[in-house]
Symmetry: C2
Subunit: 677 residues, 2 copies
């Protein structure tokens, strides 16, 4: 039924025809997208690993996620994940992954397969052994863990306690007579609940439990517990475990529950890099617990990575769709319908998110490098900078995950009706990503942790200390809040210095003001932290995180090896990042007198100017993230700009169309139609 004209206009995966709008927009890139892509992947090596993964999916059907996936039940989804990881390992030689570290292999996995049934094993269980186990324990366990000869999970969270780890109720009681610990779940609220891969797969668990020796509670320690018999995968005696049921997203993951009924393990299975219990039952701490934070950092840095990875997927779909999809003939002097991305509000939705995506990328590169350097220093016994990284990463965890989830939902909504179909790929991104605002630390708790460091720093500053690192701007906290914004027209905001000044003044005002409030009054600190000023503490933590993010973004662009033609666009995004953060909440700048009447309007006009510069290059900018069509799996966001054919084809082939009518239709609905009810 297609008209001749239509054949020329639409994108088509089947006919390998790219929509003319996408062709046009790619051709107008005035920078080198490949250079940017290389920068994003950080090295030729990593880019090659990714390209191998892409090729693997093209060649090997087994890695492709068919559109039916959305209709599968959980069992089928898990089966698909298992099948992929199996074939991935088998085909390593063909694909060219051989010789890659398991980290790079996991990256390639992530690129090619989405969720696999072993990522928590590697990211949590193996990491734990690396950081919490003693050298002797590592010699026994690490190699097997890396080779997946044991499949482990990280069993910390309980039904009653998530954020408050000190409140965990599972007990590990020392039995001197047998040189064992007895691990036990004393109550309903002590059931382990949520650990991924616990539900069906894991043969082992690192169980976090209260160490009890002769009635004394020594606090939470970690213990390796075997939970399933490797021969038949049955639960071992005393172990109750299973899957927790269907979730909002992540339904290919078997998050589990577990109760242990007086399960005995050798004393030597308490992970003992930083603490140990002797044969006599003497508990000692050793080493520097702060080093333990490095394990946590791995995860936090991963979270920053997952932020830009996911956001860039959502944006790739939304930007492509926005360019191809038209609605309303309301462009003056044109008989064509307008591309939805050419509506101002559409740009207002997507361009700030694009700026955040790149901001997170630059932050990821910076903190990865800092963390790498930190690990080297720690090995040499030097702990400088350990606090800085920890506290900035708390705020990043909280705010980046919130912003990314909001951004993904905005991408989904920006695609109208199509964004409601699972085949668009967008709901899945939202559903799966949503877990991140909850796990690895409740966001509000994380935000407050960030605030704690700020309050402490300001206290030190007021006692005469000069602050360094990310909080050094607070040295002038009371001075800057006397500044006045000199902008007289929108163009005056077009300066990284001015934009930084706005963020600094805003943050200083919020931090200074909140700390002042905290120092007054006799109420206990706990009351001030949780009941009186918690809201402003969280808000100031955000302001600080956004300032640091901007600074890292700006510095990262400047010091990068990219050409000026590329840097120019990233710089525009960096400016939008700052301007948008202020525009969203400029009240503090008015409150302290920095902004006066007219400045918010100027800022809005400035952003519109920036959008005009960024709009022509939105497509090549987002496509530099290189998300393969098979990964995006989107009937509206594929690289061909096919937004009709593939969508209809997916619909026609979908599950409910395989039968004529629903089972029991005759029984339940026909009586209505035949007026028998």
């Amino acid at each position: 039924m297609s008209s001749g004209e239509e054949i020329l206009k639409t994108g088509s995966i089947r006919h390998k025809r790219v929509h003319h709008s996408l062709l046009r927009e790619r051709s107008q890139a005035d920078f080198d997208p490949y250079e940017l892509k290389l920068f994003i992947f950080d090295s030729e090596d990593m880019l090659k690993a990714k390209e191998s993964a892409d090729k693997a999916i093209e060649i090997h059907d087994v890695f492709r996620t068919p559109s039916e996936w959305h209709s599968w039940d959980r069992e089928e989804k898990v089966r698909d994940a298992m099948r992929k990881i199996y074939h991935f390992h088998k085909k390593q030689k063909d694909i060219g992954f051989q010789g890659l570290t398991y980290k790079r292999m996991m990256v390639a996995c992530e690129e090619s397969m989405g969720q696999v049934p072993v990522d928590l094993h590697y990211y949590m269980f193996v990491t734990c052994i690396k950081y919490l186990a003693s050298d002797e324990q590592k010699a026994l366990w690490l190699s097997d863990a890396k080779k997946l000869k044991m499949h482990g999970c990280y069993a910390q969270t309980e039904m009653g306690h998530g954020s408050n780890i000190a409140g965990l109720e599972t007990t590990a009681t020392f039995d001197r007579s047998t040189d064992e610990f007895v691990i036990h779940t004393p109550s309903l609220s002590a059931y382990k609940f949520w650990p991924g891969e616990l539900g069906k797969f894991a043969t082992h668990a690192i169980v976090f439990a209260k160490l009890i020796i002769d009635g004394t509670d020594h606090g939470v320690q970690s213990f390796l517990v075997e939970i399933r018999d490797k021969r038949n995968h049955c639960l071992l005696p005393g172990v109750i475990a299973g899957d927790i049921g269907p979730k909002y997203g992540f339904n290919m993951k078997d998050n589990g529950y577990m109760a242990l009924n007086h399960v005995r393990i050798p004393r030597t299975q308490m992970l003992s890099r930083y603490s140990e219990v002797s044969e006599e039952g003497v508990f000692t701490k050793k080493g520097n617990l702060k080093i333990l934070y490095t394990a946590m950092q791995t995860i936090r840095i991963l979270i920053v990575r997952m932020a830009f990875k996911n956001l860039s997927k959502g944006l790739t779909i939304a930007i492509r769709y926005g360019i191809v999809r038209t609605q309303f003939k309301d462009k003056a002097g044109s008989d064509e319908e307008r591309a939805i991305i050419d509506y101002q509000t559409h740009q207002f939705k997507l361009i700030p998110i694009l700026s955040q995506c790149y901001a997170f990328l630059f932050v990821y590169q910076k903190v990865s490098k800092d963390f790498s350097d930190l690990k080297k220093r720690i090995k040499a016994g030097d702990l400088t900078g350990i606090n800085d990284l920890h506290t900035i990463s708390s705020g990043m965890k909280a705010f980046y995950t919130w912003m990314t989830l909001e951004g993904l939902e905005t991408c989904r909504q920006s695609c109208g009706g199509a964004g409601y179909s699972m085949f668009s790929g967008l709901p899945g991104l939202v559903q799966d990503y949503a877990a991140q605002v909850t796990y690895e630390g409740d966001n509000t708790v994380m935000a407050q942790q960030g605030a704690r460091f700020l309050v402490k720093s300001l206290g030190k500053m007021m006692k005469g200390e000069t602050l360094t690192g990310w909080v050094s701007y607070l040295n002038k906290v009371y001075e800057v809040t006397e500044y006045k914004c000199k902008a007289e027209k929108p163009e005056d905001f077009d300066s990284l210095e001015t934009l930084e000044e706005m963020l600094v003044v805003k943050t200083c005002f919020m931090v200074g003001d909140t700390c002042m409030k905290m120092m007054q009054g006799d109420e206990p600190m706990q009351t001030k932290w949780n009941e009186m000023y918690q809201q402003e503490l969280v808000e100031m933590s955000k302001a600080h995180t956004m300032l640091v993010t901007f600074q890292i973004f700006r510095d990262g662009i400047k010091s990068s090896w990219l050409q000026e033609s590329t840097k120019k666009h990233l710089c525009n995004l960096c400016k939008v990042f700052a301007a948008h953060q202020i525009y969203l909440d400029s009240a503090p700048l008015f409150e302290c007198g920095y902004f006066s009447g007219g400045h918010q309007k100027m800022l809005l006009e400035y952003m519109k100017m920036q959008f005009k510069l960024i709009r022509p290059v939105m497509l090549p900018l987002i496509e530099s993230f290189g998300h393969n069509d098979n990964i995006l799996n989107s009937c509206i966001g594929n690289s061909y700009g096919d937004i009709l054919e593939n969508q209809l084809e997916s619909a026609v082939n979908s599950d409910l169309n395989r039968k004529d009518m629903f089972p029991d239709f005759e029984k339940y609905m026909k009586p209505f139609y035949n007026a028998k009810i």
Copy 2:
């Protein structure tokens, strides 16, 4: 494994034991929750219908939605919906619905069963016949439609056109020789896509198509087309149709696609209340098209209803959970862990949403009544007020749905890990509700429609006309932006007049300023509307909608029959509604000089004061919405405060635990464990 203490503490559905915290909070209600419930349901009659529905679910298993529902595939979900509607009709006599209008029956359905396979038939198809069909056509079709002897759908949206109805491509070409219309889908983009109940159920469709007579396009009209053979439910010749596949939510609904290949219908099947085609092929318009808007209003008013219905469900779960769930022993002078609802940020999340929920309720009651009065006036030939209702409902559609979706997601996130499980009921609320920001009019388009009326009104005002109705505040637009806020301390905000003044000044500034901009420059109006000022037009539309919402809320409380003890709390919520809207975006008030330094901080302190007053009654306030446990279907938000037992039980009984291990586990994962890969 439960300790004695625990038995006393936890809520338990199984043991019919209510958590002590919920008991305590219910007992501290200093108003009559039943009175409020009666007010919410608007009449004894409606409350009785709902209570019958609740009782029906208790007694008849068939109406209960089991927790397994979340693991069912779409086919099973649809079957469940059919089964329920069938039994509902069969049991009408038992339950006591007999004699209710079908509208009340649908309300009871909604209460008892959630989504059913006939709601679009009633709300869209039957409504269309009522409003668009001529008297003769109604005599032929309406009775059968109401009795479900034909199952209809509303086939308007196409793959290429959703918002832009004028761009629909399906054609209806008049064939004089046979006195028929030939309905045809000329291209891929013309496929009908999304209509609910089209995919599998509908025997008929009201198809919106371009009327072509002798080559002249007369614009979009509506046509009744039979699409399935009632005898065997097969698609009739020339009809291609099916389900569009899995969606973010609403997966018990068969949204469909359809193409018509030269399908012929009698000329008399063009719905002809407002336009008709004679035997000779002469097209005439008749009656007043504005009356047509009344059909649209029915849906818009329903949307306001669904906003508070859904938001109150999410809040019921989140508030109950927040009261029962504890985390961290950080309350000064207490050894107990703190209920999460006693964290300031938690109240900051939930109380504004509670205020919005009640605001939407009051607006619903007002616009329902206005609409009722309007319908009576229209019958008498008087069209006064038709514009007012239409334009205010555009903004309500846009902003209430956005706010409700955000609110539901906030409720979900506020429940931490538990909010990620489908068993909490929260993800389902988000997923299903999310359709509302997209269907029945794209939100940005709706928001702009609201703005159009404001711009037009201001134009009239500046030509000397005195404005009436919802925009009458604009009569003083330039005067009020000279006002200064007189508040000197937080308590000064505790006044409905002051809060209204803030909203009026904010809106006047935004409307006045944007209209000024629109009047300058030579660019075409289309360019100004869509490319230059679209962002501020949408923002001013929001400000206006929030002002009107506040006014209706305030007036509604005042004129209600509720006792002072109840009104007092609703009034506090009304104040929070206004204060929060300003707090979220007070920049306009600073820009025009109404606010000066310190006012934003005072507003924050004022909200904290209000939260202290509202916190003790949050539970009875939300429980007055009366959501039955079987409807909420939440393992954490049930009326017993059971947040552990039921959650674990649902987990243990969930789908993946019915088998020992995943199919193909031996094939794909064992090789790893046995180091064979």
